[in-house]
């Protein structure tokens, strides 16, 4: 399976070098990749439908428990077949849709990158690798949404989508780390047996919220849904692939995968049902106010995602099977409708549903596909949509609490989705063909065959639901670790309540479609409420954050060295002062200190004189020289306390520092313009208190019992292990050599920084 996941990555890498060959007629050859993957994964159906689970493990970072372990069970199989199957059709479609586009090879590169990440995501058995592939889907979708990168709004939508899904990625990482901590492993298959330990742990709620946050942002649940309509700026194949069939379902996949691990009763059901219910109804209502075909499809997609989350929230076997079937239903009809919209847009140049009519006369096969897609979407028998809708009603009706309310929500959503499907799939083809569209020609079969294939599949699966039952529905039900009851998917259940509800849905949907037509007036009426929409609120929040960070940065990053130093010192004073005074006892044993010798007293006097002179002198050069005196006194101190290495180094460093200062100051004007008095007082207070604190700290350290273990180790082993007698140097070049290595690298960076800054400045000055 690793090869299958890597194939897409390798292909996109290959396109970097050989892209120019795939821009023209050969572009269609790229489809070989998803098609062969599709066939490869089809071959697993017999094993998986027998209830087998295929594992594969590749060690990656075993010390952290992060491995590339893949698992192929019913759930994963459903998703990989959807990813590669719809991927194949989208690849084929794109070769005609973006024919002769300058960057077609780039597009294929992004697309296969995305496909590979998506495959990795749904096959991962390790939470960490799942997270990595999750992030890769966000990143590759950023490229795809922003593909028309010469348009400002396209770039902005890509950023918004990346921002929202990126936040979700971080939440997922947090959730994964916590979950791994509680379970002691990152392998999902090992977590299955630990459900009680996980749901009882004190972190359970936090884990749940983090994982929900990840799933809700990725799957565009209210109130994070707004990135999805924005992402419709992408070329239609992207909307088809990412925003109907695959990426947005990653969140649903995560919830599905986590159900057997995290489903801990009340809280799981309540949150998912509430969020899913709000999302499905809220965005279904939004459909009425849209006139752009893609906008309608975007909102109906969000609504469908809401249904999926809602069903997972209900969590009974019937509901989970309903969700699994609905994933297939939705992928088939929504991908078809998107492709059809793409054809309409490509041929007529508009997606405004109020202007489109009568296209069946010129685009007959497309019209057929659109009509069937609308039937599937509306749940009209004998399509798979009907089977899916029945299952939804069955699970809401039999839920233990609020069954009536949930069923009403489900019915209203389905009525609106029926309307959406017909507006997008049927309306553009009905009525009188406007004059301006008369000379439209049917595009290449590469474009209209894919939607036909998908819609026919929707009908075939509807008539023979057994095909889906053994391959996906049953294996998925088994992965969910609930008491498995045998069931059969059927098109016809006989006359019962559910059939009645279906009939009501169909009737209401038809009435809605006939009575209500998309109008710009409706679209404008909702625009008034934009200011309270989550999108605007989120954008305001992010703008506010940008303003805040600007002030924050300007406050701290003034560009004056003195400000930085005073800030650092002040912060240290607060921190140290708090520590010292919150638990202070000056217990220094002064008698234990050695007596002051005459050398030390004279050095101290030299030090004091040097410091005072530096602070109060009026001449720059004198201040520098006095600073040198301070440094040299220190090296003398080191020397007296038997640290000749330190003394030598301090001596040389001080010499160089003084030279450096002299070099710079020598050229400056002679007079010294001192800072204002109050500023000097402020700095004086800062430095004096810092000095006092450090003194207190050192006195405190003296009272602590000494830990001589390390010192003894070095002293003992310097010659034995490192053949050196100078312990300091042995530590520097041998025991802690890597530290030194990094230090000299820092030194180089500093030197390069000085060089770069000054030379660059010289050049710009020279220009003037």
């Amino acid at each position: 399976m690793l090869e299958a996941v890597l194939l897409g990555f390798l292909f996109s890498l290959f396109l970097v070098f050989a892209g120019s060959y795939f821009r023209g007629k050969l572009a269609v050859l790229s489809s070989i990749i998803p098609i062969s993957l599709f066939v490869y994964f089809l071959s697993f159906i017999p094993e998986v439908s027998n209830g087998e689970v295929i594992y594969e493990n590749h060690e990656w970072i075993p010390s952290f428990g992060v491995n590339l372990s893949f698992t192929l069970d019913g759930l994963a199989l459903l998703f990989v077949l959807m990813i590669t199957g719809i991927g194949s059709l989208v690849f084929l479609y794109t070769s005609a849709y973006l024919k002769n586009h300058n960057y077609l090879d780039r597009f294929y590169g992004y697309l296969s990158l995305f496909m590979a990440s998506m495959l990795g995501l749904v096959l991962s058995d390790n939470l960490m690798s799942l997270f990595i592939f999750w992030e890769l889907t966000s990143i590759s979708s950023f490229y795809l949404i922003g593909f028309n990168n010469d348009k400002a709004d396209s770039r902005k939508s890509a950023l918004v989508a990346l921002g929202i899904t990126g936040i979700g990625g971080l939440l997922l990482l947090g959730g994964a780390v916590l979950l791994g901590d509680v379970a002691g492993t990152y392998r999902i298959s090992e977590m299955l047996s630990m459900r009680d330990a996980i749901t009882d742990s004190s972190h359970y709620i936090l884990i749940l919220l983090l994982i929900f946050g990840a799933a809700f942002t990725k799957s565009a649940q209210f109130p994070f849904h707004f990135w999805l309509p924005g992402a419709m700026k992408a070329p239609t194949p992207v909307s088809t692939y990412l925003h109907s069939a695959t990426m947005v379902k990653a969140g649903v996949y995560l919830l599905f995968r986590m159900t057997p691990v995290l489903n801990g009763g009340e809280i799981w059901h309540t949150i998912l049902i509430a969020v899913g219910g709000i999302t499905m109804l809220y965005s279904a209502i939004h459909i009425i106010f849209r006139t752009d075909l893609k906008g309608i499809l975007a909102y109906s997609t969000i609504s469908a995602l809401g249904i999926l989350v809602f069903l997972i929230g209900i969590g009974t076997q019937a509901a989970l099977i309903a969700a699994a079937v609905f994933i297939v239903v939705h992928a088939l009809y929504k991908a078809s409708l998107f492709l059809i919209t793409g054809i309409i847009d490509h041929e007529t140049g508009t997606r405004d549903v109020t202007q489109l009519a009568g296209l069946r006369k010129v685009l007959l096969p497309v019209a057929i596909a659109g009509f069937i897609a609308a039937l599937i979407s509306g749940g009209v028998p004998p399509t798979l949509g009907f089977v899916g809708k029945d299952l939804i009603y069955e699970s809401t009706l039999h839920f233990t609490s609020n069954a009536v309310l949930l069923t009403i929500i489900a019915i209203s959503t389905n009525v609106l989705l029926f309307y959406a499907g017909f507006v997008a799939g049927v309306k553009p083809f009905m009525g009188q063909l406007p004059k301006k569209f008369e000379n439209i020609h049917l595009p290449s079969p590469l474009m209209w065959v894919p939607p036909l294939i998908m819609t026919f599949a929707g009908v075939v699966f509807g008539i023979f639901p057994g095909l889906i039952e053994s391959a996906f529905a049953k294996p998925i039900a088994m992965t969910q670790a609930i008491a498995f009851e045998d069931f059969h998917l059927k098109l016809w259940h006989g006359f019962n309540t559910i059939l009645g509800l279906s009939a009501i849905t169909l009737v209401l949907g038809t009435v809605l479609y006939l009575k209500l037509s998309p109008r710009h007036a409706l679209e404008n009426s909702i625009a008034k409420f934009d200011f309270i929409s989550p999108k605007v609120l989120f954008l305001k929040l992010s703008e506010g954050f940008a303003v805040f960070s600007k002030y924050w940065t300007n406050f701290f990053q003034t560009g004056y060295l003195r400000h930085y130093i005073s800030t650092i010192v002040a912060f240290l004073i607060l921190l140290l002062g708090y520590l010292i005074f919150s638990d202070f006892s000056l217990e220094t044993d002064f008698t234990a200190l050695a007596d002051l010798t005459i050398y030390e007293i004279s050095i101290l006097l030299m030090l004091l004189a040097g410091v005072l002179y530096t602070v109060f002198t009026k001449s720059r050069l004198a201040a520098v020289a006095a600073l040198g005196v301070v440094g040299l006194s220190f090296s003398l101190l080191f020397l007296f306390y038997s640290a000749p290495d330190l003394a030598m180094t301090q001596f040389s460093v001080d010499t160089l520092t003084v030279i450096l200062f002299v070099l710079v100051l020598y050229k400056l004007p002679r007079y010294l313009n001192l800072s204002e008095k109050w500023l000097r007082i402020k700095h004086g207070i800062l430095s004096v208190s810092f000095g006092i604190l450090i003194t207190l700290l050192i006195l405190r350290v003296l009272t602590e019992p000494k830990n001589t273990e390390i010192t003894e180790f070095y002293a003992e082993n310097a010659y034995k292990l490192a053949h050196g007698k100078n312990v300091v140097n042995v530590i520097l070049v041998d025991f802690r050599g890597i530290d030194t290595m990094i230090e000299i690298s820092v030194l180089i960076v500093a030197a390069l920084g000085v060089f770069g800054l000054l030379k660059l400045r010289l050049k710009t000055r020279d220009k003037k």
Partner: protein
Amino acid sequence: MRTIILKSASSYLLPVLLLFSVFILLRGHYLPGGGFVGGLVAAIAFVLDAFSNGLDKAKKILKFHPGFLMPVGLMIAFLSGISPMLLADLPMMTGIWAENPIPVIGAIGSPLFFDIGVYLVVIGSSLTIIFTISESV
């Protein structure tokens, strides 16, 4: 600052100081000294020369830009760090030593080369900083 005494002294001081810096570098393993101090002393030697004879002359003595010493030194230090991995299949930064010490220089081992690397980096970066600053003011 170009006094005759300093000028004539510096022409003798430069080689002596450089030799001294190498001495400090080599004695570091047994006695106070080492690559860092040695590098600083060598840098001071060149700066002293620049003081008395002018920056251009000091640069001429060096023949190349002191900045080049930085990557060279870093490379030597790094190679000596990974040499145990390549030569003796030991972990990185394990000291490996030649069996017999060489007269004058003393024991030869990978830490010595590491120290030489430090020495070169210190000369390179301090001279780069000082030369750049003195050129631009």
